[in-house]
């Protein structure tokens, strides 16, 4: 099985990331953007479109300075990410990377079918085979804690977007309580979702610090950062 980064560097240039509310889509999308940026040639363009119009906090645009410094064009709302509100507006400029055949673009959607529905207005940019629609799965969230519920969720995203989900990403985690076993169990869980939906499972996300513990685990591991979570959020008295 190919590693996820090679897979994402080849094939369809449009990569939409969806998933259950709180599954870790944004952390995955931002990690993928940084990973693709690190591998890209100077003449390649890479963009991340933050299409989250549901959440007021923890949106990828909050990290746009670091992403832009890494060579990722970031598109979000008409205020270019300066407005802290959850107004349901997106910048018209978002069409630029979608229309630029030379640009690899990650579309970071809001949670659930309701958040993914925003892709509908860009339907003309999606024809079968020219894009990937990834669905991030985390079994530690109450709404997707059984393979059946997670599979139903994949279908709900397809219904909302009018598109087929083309790949599953396992993102089993419990933030600072995550262990290598959390990731292993998450992979086994996502395999069941794969069986139920027929959508191929592509990789399991794992925090970088835990990756060595998964050497030889037998499945592709995609290292993710903790870009969206400030370290103080895991301190307490």
């Amino acid at each position: 099985m190919d590693d996820l980064l090679s897979l994402m560097r080849s094939g369809p240039r449009k990569i939409a990331v969806t998933g259950h509310f709180g599954s870790g889509k944004t952390e995955f999308a931002v990690s993928l953007a940084f990973a693709l940026a690190a591998e890209k040639n100077a003449d390649e363009t890479l963009a991340l479109c933050d299409l989250d119009i549901e959440n007021p906090y923890f949106r990828s645009r909050e990290r746009q300075d670091a992403l832009r410094a890494a060579g990722v064009d970031v598109y979000s709302d008409p205020s270019d990410g300066r407005n802290g509100s959850e107004l349901q507006t997106i910048s018209a400029k978002i069409r630029a990377p979608l229309e630029n055949d030379g640009c690899r673009v990650i579309l970071d959607c809001g949670g659930d079918g309701s958040g993914a529905m925003i892709l509908r207005q860009f339907a003309k940019y999606f024809t079968p085979g020219d894009h990937r629609l990834l669905c991030v799965v985390n079994p530690n969230r109450p709404g997707t804690d059984t393979p059946e519920k997670a599979a139903a969720h994949v279908r709900a995203i397809e219904d909302a977007t009018g598109l087929r989900v083309t790949g599953l990403i396992s993102n089993a985690h419990l933030i600072r309580f995550t262990t290598a076993d959390t990731v292993r169990e998450g992979w086994a869980f996502a395999r069941q979702v794969e069986t139920l939906t027929g959508v191929p499972l592509l990789a399991a996300c794992c925090m970088r610090a835990l990756c060595p513990a998964l050497d030889g685990c037998g499945f592709p591991v995609f290292p993710i950062g903790m870009y969206m979570r400030d370290s103080y959020l895991d301190k307490s008295v």
Binding site: F21, G22, N55, P56, Y57, F58, G84, S85, E86, N138, N140, R141, P142, D145, H173, L174, I175, F177, R229, D230, S231, Y232, L233, K235, S236, V237
Partner: protein, 358 residues
């Protein structure tokens, strides 16, 4: 019991349901919108009633009525929404009804912004309600603690027949953490309410004669007596509800005072200062009313400065200075407008304040 990964607002709503919440009334306002959304689909499944009110004014008065009939009642809002509820909260204090109120606060004044803020400190500890009333205020620093406090707040509200306010800032509502949810207590059936709440208006089939819950007392001597009765409760609450946590007070040169999200930043700043050879400690008030004055008596002999650290313009300073009682200089590190400082900023500003008093 295993932990589940929950967004703060979802966990807060679930905690209320498990505490036996019978009625929830709400009006949408960011950053707490997930609470009414969650309640709208989960509370009816647990046998409770969800109603979206037409405004926060309506929500608080619906809560008043529902609490008068003895059910466990929960309302949630964010800063300007709480301002709208203040009149009703005074009525509820006067009429002695138990209600749990959650404020997931944001920046102000006015409509302000939707990023996290603590600029409701004065609003929640002093109230905008009229008259001689007090509301216990509990300020969690994380999702698990907030879940546990909401669960317990229903008992505190019942015990004192008074609203209890949970003050969590927007970051806690929006962030995610693994939580262990408490067991579901179930909703008290109507025929059992008067066993623990003989005053509740459940109908004459349930209690002998009429029960009356009211706020209006026109005779001055009757009103004075009623207020004195309320203050007997508040005096007891002031002794029984004091809560705080602290760290490194024995050794600290710098003592931060911070609640909620700011306390987590201070915990990180303390580690960074320690790496630079500067000992710092923290007092984290959990009860904002009653304020934990006693915590300040634990500050050790090495303290040079006490620093109130807040997401507002220094609204807690009055309480910090009263608790310090002139024993140490008091400084302030703050940001407002919805900006959360970095722990590095806190470190640098704390070092300057320490320099200034040496």
């Amino acid at each position: 019991m295993s932990k589940v990964l929950m967004k703060g607002n979802e966990a807060f709503a679930e905690a209320a349901i498990r505490a036996g919440c019978k009625c929830y009334f709400g009006y949408p306002i960011t950053p707490q919108n997930e609470i009414p959304e969650y309640m709208s689909h989960e509370l009816p499944k647990a046998g409770g009633a969800f109603l979206q009110a037409e405004s926060e004014l309506a929500a608080v008065n619906m809560a008043f009525g529902a609490a008068a009939s003895g059910g466990r009642v929960f309302i949630s809002t964010s800063s300007p929404g709480l301002a709208l509820m203040q009149e009703g909260l005074g009525f509820i204090c006067s009429a002695e009804c138990p209600v749990v109120v959650l404020n997931v606060s944001r920046g102000g004044p006015g409509v302000g912004g939707i990023q996290p803020g603590q600029a409701d400190y004065i609003q929640v500890t002093r109230g905008g309600y009229n008259g001689d009333a007090k509301i216990p205020v509990l300020a969690p620093a994380g999702i698990q603690e907030c879940v546990d406090l909401i669960y317990e707040a229903f008992d505190i509200a019942d015990k004192y027949r008074n609203p209890v306010l949970i003050f969590a800032d927007g970051m806690m509502g929006q962030m995610m953490e693994p939580v262990e949810l408490p067991p579901a207590r179930g909703i008290t059936p109507p025929e059992k309410i008067n066993e623990t709440k003989p005053w509740a208006i459940t109908g004459t089939a349930q209690h002998p004669g009429r029960n009356v819950v009211y706020s209006l007392r026109l005779e001055p001597d009757v009103l004075e007596k009623h207020v004195e009765h309320l203050f007997e409760k508040y005096d007891a609450a002031a002794k029984e509800l004091v809560r705080y946590k602290s760290m490194n007070l024995d050794e600290a040169e710098i003592v931060f005072v911070a609640f909620g999200t700011m306390s987590r930043l201070c915990a990180e700043a303390i580690e960074l200062l320690d790496a630079q050879g500067i000992k710092a400690g923290l007092i984290r008030p959990i009860s904002l009313w009653p304020y934990p004055d006693a915590a300040f008596d634990e500050i050790g002999p090495k303290c040079k400065v006490v620093i109130s650290t807040e997401l507002n313009m220094g609204q807690m300073l009055t309480d910090v200075k009263a608790a310090v009682a002139g024993r140490w200089p008091v400084g302030l590190i703050n940001r407002t407008g919805g900006i959360v400082p970095s722990s590095l900023e806190i470190v640098e500003r704390a070092k300057k304040l320490l320099e200034g008093v040496k």
